[in-house]
Symmetry: C2
Subunit: 333 residues, 2 copies
């Protein structure tokens, strides 16, 4: 097994990417291929102690910036780190790819290079969201702005496989994100999807409203990529705004300042619980191979955990299981 890491992708690349890769290689004895500008990567490695038999470099001169139009950039920059890393998987030289670069480009590179699993209409980004109880896998988190009921059914199948295989949730509960609990509530998409999920062999528990997401009402939550991406980004903004306001409120008087000092360890543990870097990146489910997309601001820990997600997805043959179940589902219908 080998993991290809797009070492140039992310706000803190290549430094944090290399650091995370080295830590992962050490901890799980997994071979990691760093893809990016060789000279830069060698320089990063020079300052680290690392298992030289596990860390290798594949040179890729180009990079794709955070604001480049994804599809065009992927088509034009054939020698960018993200495209080269995906090609390694395509060519059987690596078994998974991890990237924290331009999300659209990471998606496009995997879609164009690896292709879709037969029968999958639209690969989806499955994001593990921290909840009061643990983690809920939300998909699609932004790969497909417009979806149909068949897409959402496939998201539910793929998300369940991932939750069971990688997150070790037995018989994951599937929820349909909706604006009411009752079956007859919703928009055209969710109304048409409800029946499909109900008839499926999944552990479908019905509609889940926005207010129940943070309490971990289900293990796998399906919605179209517009809604999923909006929630994902809103969560980020809301948490940041809240911590800003809290800081302001706590630094307003001497009394609250002293209190703030005392609660610091408590707040730290709270922040850690909500820390995306603990949750190992989001797989792009439905492509032919394991592709893990990480947050743009990934640090070493996030890269390391994303690599672990990749390892688990390979070991549990998530791609093969999706292939099998989607094919079975299509035979049935």
């Amino acid at each position: 097994m080998r993991i290809a890491v797009d070492a140039m992708g992310g706000d803190y690349a290549p430094h944090e990417a290399v650091l995370g890769a080295v830590e992962a290689a050490k901890e799980w004895s997994v071979p990691v291929i760093l893809v990016g500008r060789e000279e830069e990567l060698k320089r990063e490695l020079a300052s680290l102690e690392y298992p030289s038999d596990l860390i290798s470099i594949v040179n890729a001169e180009e990079t794709i910036g955070m604001n480049e139009p994804p599809a065009t950039a992927v088509r034009k920059k054939r020698n960018s780190s993200i495209v080269v890393a995906n090609r390694l998987v395509k060519d059987g030289e690596a078994d998974a790819i991890v990237s924290a670069g331009n999300t659209g480009a990471a998606m496009a590179a995997s879609l164009l290079t690896l292709g879709r699993i037969p029968g999958v209409s639209r690969p989806a980004i499955a994001i593990p969201m921290p909840t009061v109880k643990g983690v809920t896998v939300l998909l699609d988190a932004g790969a497909n702005a417009d979806c149909d009921p068949e897409d959402l059914l496939q998201f539910a199948i793929m998300g369940s496989i991932y939750a069971e295989a990688v997150l070790k949730i037995t018989g994951p509960k599937v929820g349909l994100l909706n604006i009411g609990e009752e079956e007859e509530k919703g928009n055209r998409l969710t109304l048409a999807t409800y029946g499909r999920l109900k008839e499926s062999s999944l552990h479908f528990i019905g509609n889940i409203e926005g207010r129940d997401i943070p309490f971990g009402a289900c293990d796998v939550l399906v919605c179209d990529g517009f809604v999923g991406n909006t929630i994902l980004k809103f969560t980020e903004g809301f948490a940041t705004a809240l911590f800003c306001l809290m800081k302001e409120a706590l630094l307003s008087t001497t009394r609250t300042k002293l209190g703030a000092l005392l609660i610091k360890p408590g707040l730290k543990s709270l922040k850690a619980r909500m820390d995306y870097s603990e949750y190992g990146g989001a797989p792009l489910l439905g492509v032919r191979g394991v592709s893990i997309i990480s947050h743009g601001s990934s640090n070493a820990k996030a890269f390391k955990n994303a690599i672990l997600s990749g390892i688990n997805a390979i070991n549990e043959d998530v791609t093969g299981k999706i292939h099998k179940l989607i094919a079975a589902d299509q035979k049935k219908s």
Copy 2:
């Protein structure tokens, strides 16, 4: 001017509804009509000091429960407090209605009793959301699960009028909720809406992503009712979950417990800033009359502020302004 209050609607009705109505009547010398079971309302009033020339009761024997199917309930229960209150506005005996009851029923009652302003395709719920900077009016917050670009343009027009007239925001900035900043990002709906907003005479500032909402990126934010309702409910759940986790973290050690005691006043001011009851309910814009829908868990302060929103909407002739601008917009196109 007279305000009709559905005194039986809401988790804490009629007690908090009556209390809020009395406070509003006292503070702004506005006549308030309490609609509901006369005996019960008289009993509530008996324990209060109130301006008897400003508070009157209109009897309505029936009530609509929080979980009754809205449209059916409104059609069947012609003598429910919410329907009777709307009829008072329809018949010119009141100028605005305030309800904290079943949101769907409040909406249906206003739609069916008052009807739409000519030219308005779909009335929308405009919810004032607290942000770091102040308030953003989000619409539609749940009246219309499926929308087309024309609907969103009308939401933008109605939201701008409300923000300007009632929230006193001069030249309100309008944003389109989207999953990317660039004009070419989005789903079918937002892609088709962008151009319409750009061509309009509104102060359109472009796409707004979820992460920017809590920072008050715009004054009026338009989206379909599915997305708006999901965000609204998610915000509620997320804030509750976060305060739960924080409480847990702060009560974990003696040190953090002491700290928690010290920061209490700071946290209180923060909670107040995020308190929906400060923001006066959400108008259902686009119906022929002023209809303010309040949160189900409204307390007296929330009722009082909702009544104030009603007063302002009447004084500023929000309904008339919407009529005029929508008509002008339709002549143009």
